[in-house]
């Protein structure tokens, strides 16, 4: 279907997306946006898996299933994360990551 689009285009996109996600993780002050950055990262990984599967190794569905599992993991991660974030909001009345420095040295 889109065989004429080079593999590398996908890879560049996913890599960029991956590092954008990391950038977001490193700069967003809000815990939820950090979580969203994580989702970006995972999503870029998924693209990688899917694209590799499709373009290089279409005989088996390894990448496909890997993506599937990653989505599920992402969901459970998000669930727990949000639970904790809400907990934090209860305690701090804020979810700014900068407030989370009670422990340092």
């Amino acid at each position: 279907m889109i065989d004429n689009i080079p593999l590398n285009s996908f890879l560049v996109i996913s890599t960029l997306m991956f590092f954008i996600g990391i950038y977001g993780f490193l700069t967003r002050r809000n815990l939820i946006t950090m979580l969203m950055s994580i989702e970006l990262i995972l999503n870029s990984v998924n693209i990688n898996f899917v694209v590799f599967n499709k373009f290089l190794y279409p005989n088996l569905l390894h990448g496909h299933f890997f993506s599937l599992i990653v989505i599920a993991v992402a969901a459970s991660e998000a669930a727990v994360a949000i639970a904790i974030i809400i907990n934090i909001y209860r305690n701090f009345k804020s979810i700014d990551v900068e407030n989370l420095d009670q422990m340092k040295l």
């Binding site: 889109i2 004429n4 890599t15 997306m17 954008i20 990391i22 950038y23 700069t27 499709k54 949000i82």
Partner: protein, 187 residues
């Protein structure tokens, strides 16, 4: 340029644009919506690649589930109009540098590598094949991860519940001994 190409660049463009917007927008709710767009665009690419099942999952679980969860929590924890505090410029610059370097190195490496496609005949990722693989326990079957992920989901559920559970007796017990007095560790 075929329609497919156009579609691809459209999706690719939207993925990149919205990704950037997600991590830069100062309104959290908007970020969430941009993220939704990214995820939907990704699903579009999956569709284009003919991985319909995966695309569907992407839409339902990711876009439908996670984003909704996130939006709920945003609504719970902040005002809609509230603008997010921006990280200091220094932090932004350094992070940008590090990530840019990382991206450059990674892309460079990718481009250097000569990927060799497998010569074996392709398997279509239709529901039949996917379903079969999910329950087959031989080589290239995914029954085990499929089972294990259920434990993970259960555990996450229990974990989330346990964390979210309000403790009635604690609300009243002001004299509860604090195991970690907050000032004790600021050394």
């Amino acid at each position: 340029m075929t329609l497919n190409d156009i579609m691809f660049y459209l999706f690719a463009g939207s993925i990149l644009t919205f990704s950037v917007l997600t991590v830069t927008s100062r309104r959290i709710l908007r970020s969430a919506v941009y993220l939704l767009f990214v995820l939907v665009s990704t699903a579009g690419i999956y569709f284009m690649l003919n991985y319909n099942f995966l695309a569907a999952v992407q839409l339902t679980v990711y876009a439908g589930g996670i984003i909704v969860l996130i939006i709920f929590s945003i609504l719970l924890t902040s005002h809609v109009s509230e603008k997010a505090v921006v990280a200091p410029v220094r932090q932004q610059i350094f992070s940008a540098l590090a990530t840019a370097a990382g991206a450059a190195l990674t892309i460079l490496t990718f481009l250097q590598y000569a990927f060799t496609p497998s010569a074996s005949p392709a398997v279509e990722a239709n529901v039949h094949n996917v379903g079969l693989a999910l329950v087959s326990y031989g080589r290239d079957g995914f029954a085990l991860p499929f089972e294990v992920i259920s434990i993970l989901l259960l555990a996450a559920m229990v974990g989330a519940i346990v964390l979210a559970k309000k403790e009635k007796h604690l609300a009243t017990a002001g004299n509860q001994p604090k195991i970690n007095p907050d000032n004790s560790s600021k050394s």
